[in-house]
């Protein structure tokens, strides 16, 4: 509790007594996983409060408990002095609003209509009073000094303004606590400033604001205080003014000094030819980016979710347009105009979202692995050979059961991921681009996947580019890693320097 006293802005505030959120010892267990192990979280009325932590630290679980989407397994939760009760609807009525990355706005409707849809239209008799509805929306946006034409459709506004419309909608509903989950993840610096400037205006209204963000410098600039979660516990509560960025990152990652890491793997690059050379590549959301991947090498390309690494991967296979730069594969120029070109050049692309982009759940494992069978169109499928080949691959990847005839949707998530990787690793490609290769799979499947990727690279000379936000995975899997931040490569780590904390620090923009 001592941190309250230290915090400058709160001492000035007359509302110091009222706690918008008062959570003590919150616990939440999902099956065998402890998501929250006694987290404390206090937010005063009229303050902007940052909530920080690594992936899996418990931020989203805490938000779910606050929103009433899930019940806690222990601990006490109060809002504005009242014990929390009921589900999401009751919480909303009690003045809580949650704004997620998907803002939940209706793009074709005007700002005024979006606001009125949740807080109620002004009526004349039984009919909507257009003028009064617009006037009320105007009142709301002016309350935070937001300059926008409320009759314009929301879809045409810049993303920052859409975020602010969502804030206004919450205010019109009478929200006294607004939780913003990564509101600035996809915004440019100038837009971020606009959002934060207007959020600062909420203080005077006595509205509390919880800001969840990966961008530590933004958090320090706008927040009054921050709470840092790690492994489901509250690690620190500090006034933002007393923290430096470096300190903040140390608190988030939880290790005093990140740079003393043990060398893991000897460098494998010695004398191997370059497989892919990327020269000053530029595209939407990234650039310029330059690097090269060698034969048999596993190169990591990591960063926070919005750092641009996924766009680089898609650009390499021609799925996103390039605006500049050059590519060579095995020394010859390569400019993919589409995925087919990339496939012809021997590049495989494993998408991050297996359900949406990777696998067809209604087809069998074998059909997925040989979705586009080799050979000319008039050559019949050789089902016996094919089944034999798929079965062997499934066995190599330790898919259980290794039956190519089963529908993909009947396999568990980890096995589906293995099938997806088998589809791309199993057929001797020159380069595979792996997006989040072990997203959402259990520990056993993860180690199987890593083993297969490494053995494919070591035995067949395949080059692998692993694109991920999971720094532990990068360290486990890669020979070398590049860290991206805001669209550019900010650092390169060789095998002897790879350490999750170093990667995290670089990704957040700290100095090592």
């Amino acid at each position: 509790m001592s941190s309250y006293v230290q915090s400058g802005s709160l001492a000035d505030s007359p509302l110091i007594a009222e706690l918008a959120v008062d959570a003590v010892g919150l616990r939440k267990v999902y099956g065998p996983t402890v998501a929250l192990a006694g987290a404390d979280f206090q937010v005063c009325a009229g303050e902007i409060h940052g909530l920080l932590g690594e992936n899996g630290a418990g931020k989203s679980t805490l938000v779910r408990l606050l929103a009433g989407v899930e019940r806690s397994d222990g601990g006490e939760l109060r809002f504005f002095g009242e014990p929390a009760s009921g589900g999401p609807a009751e919480r909303r009525r009690a003045g809580l609003a949650f704004i997620h990355q998907d803002l939940g706005l209706f793009a074709q409707f005007s700002v005024a209509e979006n606001i009125a849809l949740s807080s109620g239209f002004r009526l004349r008799g039984k009919f909507i009073n257009e003028a009064a509805t617009i006037a009320r929306a105007r009142e709301t946006v002016e309350r935070i000094g937001f300059d926008v034409d409320v009759t314009k459709p929301v879809g045409g506004l810049p993303l920052a303004d859409q975020t602010l419309v969502a804030v206004c909608r919450a205010l019109a509903e009478g929200a006294r606590l607004i939780v913003l989950d990564e509101p600035t993840a996809y915004l440019e610096a100038r837009q971020v400033r606009k959002v934060f400037d207007l959020l600062a205006g909420l203080r005077a209204d006595g509205v509390a604001c919880v800001l969840i963000s990966h961008r530590s410098e933004d958090v320090l600039r706008v927040c009054d205080r921050v709470t840092i979660l790690r492994d489901g516990r509250t690690i620190a509560r500090r006034g933002a003014r007393e923290l430096s960025e470096v300190e903040l990152i140390r608190l988030i990652t939880g290790r005093a000094d990140a740079s003393d890491s043990a060398p893991r793997r000897p460098p494998v690059r010695g004398g191997r030819p370059v497989r892919l050379r990327v020269d000053a590549l530029r595209g939407s959301g990234f650039g310029p980016v330059s690097f090269s991947v060698h034969e048999g090498e596993v190169l990591g390309l990591c960063g926070l979710a919005d750092a641009g690494q996924f766009a680089v991967g898609r650009a390499l296979v021609g799925d996103l347009g390039l605006s500049g730069g050059g590519l060579t594969i095995d020394g010859s120029d390569f400019s993919p105009s589409g995925v087919r070109d990339a496939l012809k050049a021997g590049i495989g692309f494993v998408p991050a979202n297996r359900a949406a982009d990777g696998l067809a759940g209604a087809l069998t494992a074998g059909e997925n692995m040989l979705m586009s069978p080799p050979g000319r169109w008039w050559q019949p499928l050789r089902s016996r050979n094919e089944e034999e080949m798929c079965r062997r691959l499934l066995q190599t990847f330790r898919v259980a059961p290794p039956v190519p005839d089963y529908q993909v949707s009947t396999f568990s998530g980890g096995n589906q991921q293995k099938i997806l990787l088998a589809k791309w690793l199993g057929f001797h490609r020159r380069l595979v681009i792996l997006n989040e290769p072990s997203a959402g799979v259990d520990v056993g499947a993860k180690s199987d996947i890593h083993k297969q990727v490494r053995s494919d690279c070591e035995n067949n000379g395949t080059a692998a580019l692993v694109i991920s936000t999971d720094f532990l995975e990068i360290v486990d899997l890669c020979d070398r890693a590049l860290v991206m931040r805001r669209g550019v490569v900010v650092g390169e780590l060789g095998s002897s320097e790879l350490h999750p904390d170093v990667l995290t620090e670089m990704a957040y923009g700290g100095t090592v």
Binding site: T33, E367, L381, S409
Partner: protein, 376 residues
């Protein structure tokens, strides 16, 4: 974030589970696969017992096969776009268009029969191509595009025929379809040939799998180098060709053409046969044998009930109910499959949990120096 599991234990568990679940799974699978075939046999046997002289005759089988040929070929025309996830509601109107064109060209246009047949099929093919282009290039959902196309084609048919029916086509057209070989009219052979070609292509050539991949996950297909748009356009186009063939067959069978759309009433029987057929053999997937069995089943039930004295409105009632029932059954089967799968996973998770706690307690007992009891 995930359960700490021992991969070796997991695979051995799965191995142990496999034979136990095999028996009920195989049984339900077989019932699902061959249920429709059994229904067909039961229906035929039942009506044959009730009306032996009229129903259980070669004559009845031959007539039914002949009458169902346009439905079967039309069903193939629907099935191909359906595999890519697109619906073609213009199929019946397209058959009618080929019908009126063929009749018109041979009667009033003075074209020789083979040329007229080819022209009619080409017109229907062009309609299919247009459907595909509208759906893929103009991004109109296939439901709307082909619904509009169906009405539009009706208008073209009326305009072409000046709203007058063509009551007699040259005998060369009817002979081409009605001529009997080994006791069956040629139309039946055309139907079987179409089924054979489409069935073999879909089953044994890569294109069949690619079509299904486009339907199951276009984005995954595109990342595998398949062009979803191209496959959609091609499937609509080939569907148009088949509709044209069905139109030729129906012209020969009837020997006439109606300005208002001879085959328009076939739309529902066609869709009923396709959807009911997709519940059989490869449940959840439209397939050629299923289409054939379903078309015969629906035809036998309709004609059988009429023979038993049911009123004429029984037939549309059965077709409509079969269409809704087949789709409802398919989605229900998918839901049941998902539920079964979830229960199985939960069971495995709890087994793993139990094993983990057992291992943990064994380990803790070990450290205190006590012997772990087997019951733990």
């Amino acid at each position: 974030m995930t359960a700490p599991t021992n991969p070796a234990a997991r695979t051995s568990l799965a191995g142990k589970d496999a034979p136990r679940e095999k028996i009920p799974r195989a049984l339900t699978e077989r019932v699902g696969k061959y249920g429709l075939l059994i229904f067909l046999i039961v229906a035929f046997a039942g009506f044959s017992l009730a009306r032996p002289s009229e129903f259980a005759s070669w004559q009845n089988i031959r007539t039914t096969l002949d009458q169902q040929t346009p439905v079967i070929i039309g069903g193939l025309a629907v099935m191909i776009p359906l595999l890519t996830g697109e619906i073609d509601l213009s199929v019946a109107a397209n058959i009618s268009l080929a019908n009126i064109f063929l009749a018109g060209l041979t009667t009033n246009g003075h074209f020789s029969t083979p040329v007229a047949v080819i022209l009619a099929i080409l017109v229907s093919t062009a309609v299919g191509l247009l459907n595909g282009l509208i759906v893929v290039k103009l991004q109109v959902t296939s439901f709307v595009a082909t619904l509009g196309m169906a009405t539009l084609l009706g208008g073209i048919g009326l305009a072409y025929s000046h709203s007058t029916d063509i009551l007699t086509v040259p005998s060369s057209v009817t002979t081409m379809v009605r001529y009997q070989v080994i006791g069956l009219p040629l139309s039946v052979f055309y139907g079987f040939a179409a089924m054979l070609v489409v069935g073999l292509v879909l089953r044994y050539l890569p294109v069949g799998r690619k079509l299904r991949a486009v339907g199951a996950n276009p984005r995954a297909a595109a990342l595998t180098g398949i062009r979803p748009g191209l496959y959609r356009i091609a499937s609509f186009t080939f569907g148009g060709t088949l509709a044209g063939i069905a139109g030729v067959v129906i012209t020969g069978q009837l020997g006439s053409a109606t300005a208002a759309g001879t085959a328009d009433a076939l739309l529902l029987p066609i869709f009923a046969a396709v959807f009911l057929g997709s519940t059989a053999f490869t449940p959840g997937r439209p397939n050629v044998p299923g289409l054939f069995v379903a078309a015969l089943f629906l035809a036998f039930v309709s004609s059988g009930l009429v023979l038993l004295g049911a009123p004429l409105w029984a037939s549309p009632l059965i077709n409509g109910a079969a269409l809704i029932g087949a789709v409802a059954f398919s989605t229900w089967a998918l839901r049941m499959q998902a539920r079964q799968f979830r229960a199985q996973q939960l069971k495995q998770l709890s087994i793993e949990d139990a094993m983990d706690t057992a291992a943990a307690s064994a380990a803790s007992l070990g450290t205190t120096g006590e012997k772990p009891t087997p019951s733990a």
